[in-house]
């Protein structure tokens, strides 16, 4: 593969940033992480119960209304709370450590946090009360109590504040360091913030102009095709929002943790820019099976979707090459000897390896989802649910764990009491995810559909699915054990010796001194995103106004009309 390895003399690493005073944003970062992981733990309990309820075994408290209440809470907690708060917390950490200076807008960060907390509580209470069982996708014309949506909007507002802080911190730093390359970790974080601002436009428009007025009773009818289209604007890019921290860890953490260097800093910048560009104009691949769009735009967005795989494939190569450098620096020889020479006891290295295995399986499945025709076999089946558990719950979330493990000592000033328990947690997550999702994919191909409170196992076709659902349930239980271990590891009870650590990111084989302006900021790329979005979504949205379809009557799920 990469012929440049340890035998090439490498430039001397720059001096480590001066140790000394602890992180100023420490409490802010920890608050975000703890909220994220608390939501995660609760959601894992619910997930395991859902799997039980779907199986032929008798689950406690098993009613349809409990099931959909649970799936709504699980989906919202995982997709909106765990992800958003983890990403924000990690962003503040990166801004302080990668730029090597305290946050100028720390206060704003706290505002964002508390607005988000209020939003989470509002939405969670709405779901628990049973007045918001609309699932995390809340497709109209079914509507929940307005508190649910207002809570979600507050979470988004909190995240917008985060975006503002990230962008501001980068531009302050650039002003103070003219001509210098923004450190890759921060560059990527800001790429994500910029992408997230674009991403949320779709769902924000849907909520503010369609869903909230309907749920308040101000409007009686809704254009469902339009709301699905606006939601699709958000639905793909949000996945990359979740994914970004994992890629930031691949590029800027894993190479050093494995004892090597990042193969190419430029390739990192390019990949993050490509994510910004291609994550957005592709959301209509979620609408392949919808009647409100003609095939032309579906086809266009499918072609663009194919290009989203480019930055991922570039990443796989660059990271594999970086790990190869590490393996060879550690004395690994031969074609694959470097793999064995990697420090697999290091949690970040282990998690990266496991994440790549899940990415390999998940990516293969993704090709099927993406293709215009084959999508018909799997749309809204368990295949889809299994797929995003593998990629999001697997690849992405295992890297969230790895990031937390990597930076925890510098946040808490304590080392882990047992790295062995840390590794066990990662292995169990990987094993649980494989055991849960492999049969789940198969069930999807057999036609098992998603979002079902209970299957009728007396039906001869459905009866054959039973044993596989039980295997998935076992996988889910393993995941639950892993989730509990995670919390144990991170709580004071799981920590040991005191330590003073300053987190250091990976050096590139060629540390960038100066980079072209295009690879150091986002002005140009924002223009390109605007052009792409206009081309991809301009007419698909405009058609609802040019040629308005009949509207649907609002169904208030919170008023007991159904």
């Amino acid at each position: 593969m990469a012929s440049i390895a340890a035998n090439d003399a490498l430039p001397v690493p720059a001096a480590a940033p001066a140790a000394g005073e602890g992180l100023r944003s420490r409490r802010l970062v920890l608050s975000h992480f703890w909220l994220a992981f608390a939501a995660f733990l609760i959601a894992c309990v619910l997930g395991a119960w859902q799997m039980w309820a779907r199986s032929p075994l008798d689950a406690p408290a098993h009613t349809a209304s409990n099931y959909f209440r649970s799936v709504t809470l699980h989906g919202v907690a995982m997709a909106y709370v765990l992800s958003t708060f983890f990403i924000m917390g990690f962003g503040y950490f990166v801004a302080e450590t990668a730029l090597g200076r305290p946050l100028k807008w720390l206060k704003a960060g706290w505002w964002g946090f508390w607005i988000g907390v209020v939003g989470v509580l509002m939405a969670a209470l709405a779901v628990i009360s049973g007045k918001a069982s609309v699932l995390y996708t809340f497709y109209p014309p079914m509507t929940a109590t307005p508190w649910f949506y207002i809570g979600l909007v507050l979470v988004v507002v909190g995240s917008w504040i985060w975006c503002g802080v990230m962008i501001a911190e980068m531009s302050f730093w650039k002003r103070d360091n003219p001509g210098q390359a923004v450190p890759l970790a921060m560059f990527a974080t800001v790429a994500n913030a910029v992408m997230w601002l674009w991403t949320t436009v779709g769902v924000a428009a849907e909520l503010l102009f369609q869903v909230i007025p309907a749920s308040l009773g101000w409007t009686q009818m809704v254009d469902v095709g339009l709301s699905r289209t606006l939601f699709s604007w958000t639905l793909h890019a949000i996945v990359y929002f979740w994914l970004f921290p994992a890629y930031i860890a691949f590029y800027t953490m894993a190479p050093r943790e494995a004892g090597g260097r990042l193969f190419s800093d430029t390739m990192g910048r390019l990949s993050f820019i490509l994510f910004l560009l291609y994550s957005l104009p592709v959301g209509m691949h979620h609408l392949f099976m919808d009647p409100e769009h003609s095939s032309g735009f579906k086809f266009l967005q499918m072609v663009l979707t194919a290009f989203v795989s480019v930055p991922t494939l570039l990443t796989v190569f660059t990271i594999a090459a970086s790990l190869e450098i590490a393996g060879r620096m550690r004395g690994g020889k031969g074609l694959f000897g470097w793999v064995a020479a990697l420090p697999w006891k290091n949690p970040m290295t282990l998690a990266t390896g496991l994440a790549f295995v899940m990415l390999f399986f998940g990516g293969g499945g993704g090709l099927i989802n993406m293709s215009y025709g084959m999508n018909a076999m799997i749309h809204n089946t368990s295949w889809v649910t299994a797929h995003f558990h593998l990629i999001f719950g697997g690849t992405v979330v295992i890297m969230y764990f790895a990031i937390a493990y990597a930076i925890w000592p510098s946040l808490t000033g304590r080392e882990f009491a047992s790295l062995k328990r840390v590794r066990w947690q990662l292995w169990l997550w990987f094993i649980g995810m494989m055991v849960m999702t492999i049969p789940w994919h198969g069930l999807g191909l057999e036609g098992q559909w998603r979002r079902v409170a209970a299957f009728d196992y007396t039906d001869p076709i459905i009866a054959t699915w039973g044993p596989w659902v039980i295997v998935s349930l076992i996988g889910g239980m393993i995941l639950l054990v892993s989730a509990v271990l995670l919390i144990w590891n991170l709580l004071p009870a799981g920590l040991g010796r005191r330590t003073v650590q300053v987190y250091r990111y990976a050096e590139a084989v060629h540390p960038p001194g100066r980079v072209p302006a295009a690879l150091n900021g986002f002005a140009l790329w924002n223009v390109l995103v605007a052009v792409l979005m206009l081309a991809a979504y301009g007419w698909p949205i405009a058609q609802f106004f040019a040629d308005p379809p009949p509207q649907a009557v609002i169904h208030h799920m919170d008023r007991g009309i159904d």
């Binding site: 990469a2 430039p11 349809a64 209304s65 959909f68 699932l135 497709y139 014309p141 079914m142 254009d223 469902v224 095709g225 699905r228 193969f263 190419s264 430029t266 390739m267 609408l287 392949f288 099976m289 919808d290 009647p291 769009h293 003609s294 095939s295 499918m302 194919a306 290009f307 795989s309 480019v310 494939l313 570039l314 190569f317 293709s371 215009y372 025709g373 084959m374 999508n375 018909a376 076999m377 749309h379 809204n380 089946t381 036609g447 998603r450 979002r451 079902v452 409170a453 299957f455 039906d459 459905i462 060629h510 379809p549 009949p550 509207q551 649907a552 009557v553 169904h555 799920m557 159904d562």
Partner: protein
């Protein structure tokens, strides 16, 4: 002295080579998808045909008498089904094997979706639109047709049967209709 320029150029060259390979791979995959789509006549529902959810059961195509499977004078087989909270009307439809069948769905209330197990029949049913799928069933027997989009607490019970019969057993009545009964 280490020649930084040389390593840098080498890294760039390796990355570029890989990027070209990736570009090629993506084009190949796209080609395969397009080819499969065209050669297997796979067309997702994209007819963009409006129908008013408030009145669809009162007049026109989706009134009760027109639901289910019917064969028109040119021998075209069309199956019309209403997806509503929480059942299909009708709950069972008959279709012939090895003949092109046009399935048409509409919803008077919320979003539903259907798939037919073991086939690639799959569409969302969005209020405001008629969803249309052309297909040919190859295996005979009773297939499941569940609603696959969450539509309320009764969603899990929303399940219909597609009865695929051999062509010789598919005999329309005088009104052109074929029913499960």
């Amino acid at each position: 002295m280490i020649d930084h320029g040389a390593t840098e150029r080498r890294i760039l060259k390796t990355e570029l080579r890989w990027a070209v390979f990736v570009g090629f791979l993506v084009l190949m995959i796209l080609g395969a998808i397009v080819y499969a789509g065209i050669s297997m006549h796979i067309n997702p529902p994209s007819n963009r045909e409006f129908i008013d959810p408030k009145t669809l059961h009162l007049s026109g195509e989706f009134t009760e008498a027109n639901l289910g499977t019917s064969v028109d004078t040119d021998g075209q087989v069309t199956t019309r089904v209403i997806a509503t909270q929480f059942s299909f009307v009708p709950q069972c439809v008959v279709v012939p094997a090895n003949r092109t069948v046009t399935l048409r769905f509409a919803s008077p209330d919320v979003i539903h979706g259907i798939l037919v197990s073991g086939t690639n029949v799959n569409t969302m049913v969005v209020p405001g639109y008629v969803s249309q799928v052309h297909t040919e069933f190859t295996r005979t027997g009773d297939l499941l047709m569940p609603c696959h989009e969450y539509c309320g607490f009764g969603h899990s019970q929303m399940l219909a049967t597609v009865r695929v019969v051999p062509p010789e057993q598919f005999r329309p009545g005088p009104d052109g209709k074929v029913t499960c009964g």
